[in-house]
Symmetry: C2
Subunit: 518 residues, 2 copies
């Protein structure tokens, strides 16, 4: 069994420690793809200068070109890298060239011979733009090849990766995942997402990852093949990808392209270097452009690596702080394709809620209705619906607007509203149950309003239309199932509260809710 | 007259060259606040290591503590800084301590004596939480002091800054700006925004900056005093602030706080350093925590400076690319207070449109209804309303849904919809005027759909509720004023198009618009 210890979690992300025979690797980990023929930054430099502890290289290409040398030296000496080495199997080459010159059995054997730490069976990638029938075949064939592994493997100190196929056919991805999870792999991986990522169809990628991830044991680390660009690392990690490889740092540098966390820029388009990494901080783009090609490529490769590794550290720090959602929101507003992917999360809100930890360190930031899919919002309303009963003595419900935790309760504005409302109502306070209506949470009984996270968040006001609708729906739901004798909603005129009141009016009978406009 | 040459513009931002007697400074420029008593990174290091070409220091504090030495040496030797030096006048000290021990005349004279490059009159700051009467007094007194300047100043090689007061009273800010602009200052500045920024009331800051900026000549550079945190640099620049000073890099470092472009983190809360600057790239937070206090403070100061200077480069690159709005969207989703400020921009859309350049280099990214305030959206609809007439032969209008430029026109999906629609309609194509309805732009006649920016944008789908409403309103407007015999809207069922159609139905008479659902 794989040794994978989870230290910290947020959404489906986790900071973990994965044990390999060449050392323990902290996840989430970005694995630079090493192609020794085109490597301007060596594995040794990755280890020493970038703190890189795991990388990936292609066993099939090595087998084809330098099989004997690699087997004799072992992959670690061959690459001159003392950390963990993962090897890919040539599946990507099948996707690119239709077929490869090696049998699945040979690829298994060769990975044992070169003494890799994490090995991949030679799966048959589904690819893109294929029929469902073809996709089914790739799933079946991959499972057949996976079943061979148990008989063929001779060593127990290598972790084996079971790729999940099915492509855009989510039912096939789920089926593939269920079948593969029955085979004792150490790690699972989503196969052939590259065409999806190259086309920036990250919303489909979300569906694919969930279809796979939810059908394999969470105790096994999950790898995303060919994850590509650092602007989507946070998304992948949030969905539970513990490992992902990318060759982008290298391929883009060869083509004079400069990575940022919000996209790629051609070096020729840069008039300023928007970065403080050791490559950039004292240079301007002209300095880079005037370098000889090989030196420029090496420097761009280094810059690209700095971007990738610091993004991983930033993601890890966000997980620790319980602010991965906030980090995702920033990345989602770097490119519309990532935001489009985030919009898909509302269909998976319950799953995110179930797996996301409850106590967090930090207050929450709310920006827009995208945030309605946050675990904290779903959790609050689930609890209110299933586990909450109002105080028994309460006969009158008064719903006050809230302006966020800093301003609620003790704020001057709230006190004035409270005083105005009671002056108009002439009700005995002892009978009243005070509640807030609070974007984006909905209804918050006053006695819960000091509880995390209801007491610790900030929201950009005014709320957007979907958030207003959501809050109004929560009020309607709460009022409908409540047993108060009177229900009164306080509304300040000329504010977003009127829009909420309007939706409540349309959805409740006249006698259900009275409105006091201040 | 100040020599200020604008090289590039985007929104109200500009990349400019400001001539001072100690060299030309490129704007937008971040001016580190230098307090020689508390400076762990010297002005010389700022010049040599950080490429800093302009800084600011407090003439009043120097006058109080080392007047003679500074006057004898000149401020450049005194600070050991060969670049441009701006001096503040002690107004902040008035705000903090009520009064200072120097008369306005002395402060003018002293700044000439120390040979500063950019000098500030001793204005009377309005401050926060003051009555309108008090605010009026500060405006009047500042103007009186400003009028003294012409008689008192003896040199012509110093640029003089005229601060604008009025605080949160926007009419007073506008009045102050109008009066100050009649005095031949070289540079204007918004005075006393610090309390507003400390309270993160950036939406009010937007109003204050516009009230000032729109009432002074655009040919004079505009300074924002005490701009604070790098997470709001982009906002300040987008609103036309060419210069801004900040002591945050230093003050926060003294207090073991680490700046990022999305907020401040206490060093003790960091488990990973989310940065690749020379301070961070090979260290972890423990390394910093274990340093002696003065060394740690110096390293944190350096890190904070790297964040500030790279943010400025990133903003400049965004201006060059015509992507400052995109950059703002990223920053706005780093902290709700910045998004809240961006929501204010919809009231200034026409002004942004008027000043923003028309031809840009890059395609646009659309994320949410916040983007409806973008100059390109406002410009398109202004033109359609005022300058566009449909082809004369057109008798039938057909409105097709669009899926963004990559998918429109030549896409398979569009062709299929087109074929299906014509099959149902049996209309002579020669009479038809094909238009698209395109979030977020609204109605786009097909003959314009290849024009920038209509041909070059990406949008996160589905559009949000406000964007849907906006597009529907544009359709209603277009249909109402058009003279077609028939108007037909094509809608794909189960998509966002149905929501648009619904709003159109509610706002148009039945005979105005026919709907074909596919």
């Amino acid at each position: 069994m794989v040794e994978f210890e989870v230290k910290s979690r947020d959404l489906l992300a986790r900071i973990g420690r994965l044990k390999t025979k060449s050392g323990t690797v902290e996840t989430p980990a970005f694995l630079p793809v090493i192609n020794m023929a085109k490597q301007s930054v060596t594995p040794r430099e990755l280890w020493e200068e970038f703190g890189c502890r795991i990388l990936i290289t292609n066993a099939y290409i090595i087998k084809k070109q330098q099989a004997e040398e690699a087997a004799k030296m072992g992959i670690h000496s061959f690459l001159d890298f003392p950390g963990a080495v993962m090897t890919d199997s040539g599946a990507y080459q099948i996707l690119a060239y239709g077929d490869i010159e090696a049998a699945p059995e040979e690829i298994i054997k060769f990975q044992e011979e070169i003494d890799t730490d994490i090995a991949t069976i030679l799966d048959l990638p589904t690819g893109w733009g294929v029929s469902k029938k073809h996709a089914e075949n790739t799933v079946r064939e991959t499972i057949n090849r996976a079943k061979m592994l148990e008989e063929l493997k001779t060593r127990s100190d290598i972790l084996w990766v079971g790729p999940i196929q099915g492509g855009r056919y989510l039912d096939l991805v789920a089926k593939s995942a269920r079948e593969m999870s029955r085979i004792p792999f150490d790690i699972h991986a989503l196969g052939s997402p590259t065409p999806v990522m190259e086309r920036y169809i990250f919303d489909l990628l979300v569906d694919m990852i969930f279809a796979a991830k939810l059908n394999v044991p969470f105790s096994r680390p999950f790898h995303l093949f060919g994850a590509g660009h650092p602007f989507m690392f946070a998304l992948a990690v949030a969905l539970g990808c513990d490992l992902f490889d990318s060759a982008a740092y290298n391929i883009f540098a060869q083509d004079d392209r400069y990575l940022t966390t919000y996209g790629t820029v051609r070096l020729e388009e840069l008039e300023y270097l928007p970065c403080s990494c050791p490559v950039c901080y004292k240079r301007d783009p002209r300095d880079l452009r005037e370098m000889p090609k090989n030196e420029r490529e090496a420097e761009l490769t280094r810059h690209n690596l700095y971007v990738c590794f610091s993004e991983i550290r930033r993601i890890k720090q966000a997980i620790i702080e319980g602010r991965l959602w906030e980090h995702l929101m920033m990345r989602a507003h770097g490119h519309p394709s990532i935001l489009q992917a985030m919009k898909r999360l509302k269909d998976y809100g319950d799953i995110l809620e179930r797996h996301s930890p409850i106590v967090k360190r930090s207050g929450l930031f709310f920006f827009s209705s995208i945030d309605l899919a946050r675990p904290e919002v779903i959790r609050h309303n689930g609890r209110l619906r299933e586990r909450y009963s109002p105080p028994e003595k309460a006969e009158v419900l008064i719903l006050f607007p809230s302006f966020g935790p800093r301003r609620t309760g003790r704020s001057r504005r709230y006190k004035r509203i409270l005083a105005d409302a009671y002056a108009k109502l002439q009700i005995d306070k002892g009978q009243v149950h005070e509640c807030f209506y609070v974007p984006p949470f909905g209804v918050v009984p006053k006695e819960l309003s000091d509880v995390y996270p209801l007491s610790q968040f900030e929201i950009a006001r005014p709320p957007d239309a979907e958030t207003i609708k959501y809050v109004a729906q929560r009020i309607v739901e709460y009022v409908k199932k409540s047993r108060y004798e009177r229900r009164i909603m306080i509304v300040e005129s000329g504010t977003w509260q009127e829009e909420i009141a309007q939706i409540c009016k349309e959805n409740l009978k006249e006698e259900s809710l009275e409105f006091i406009t201040l």
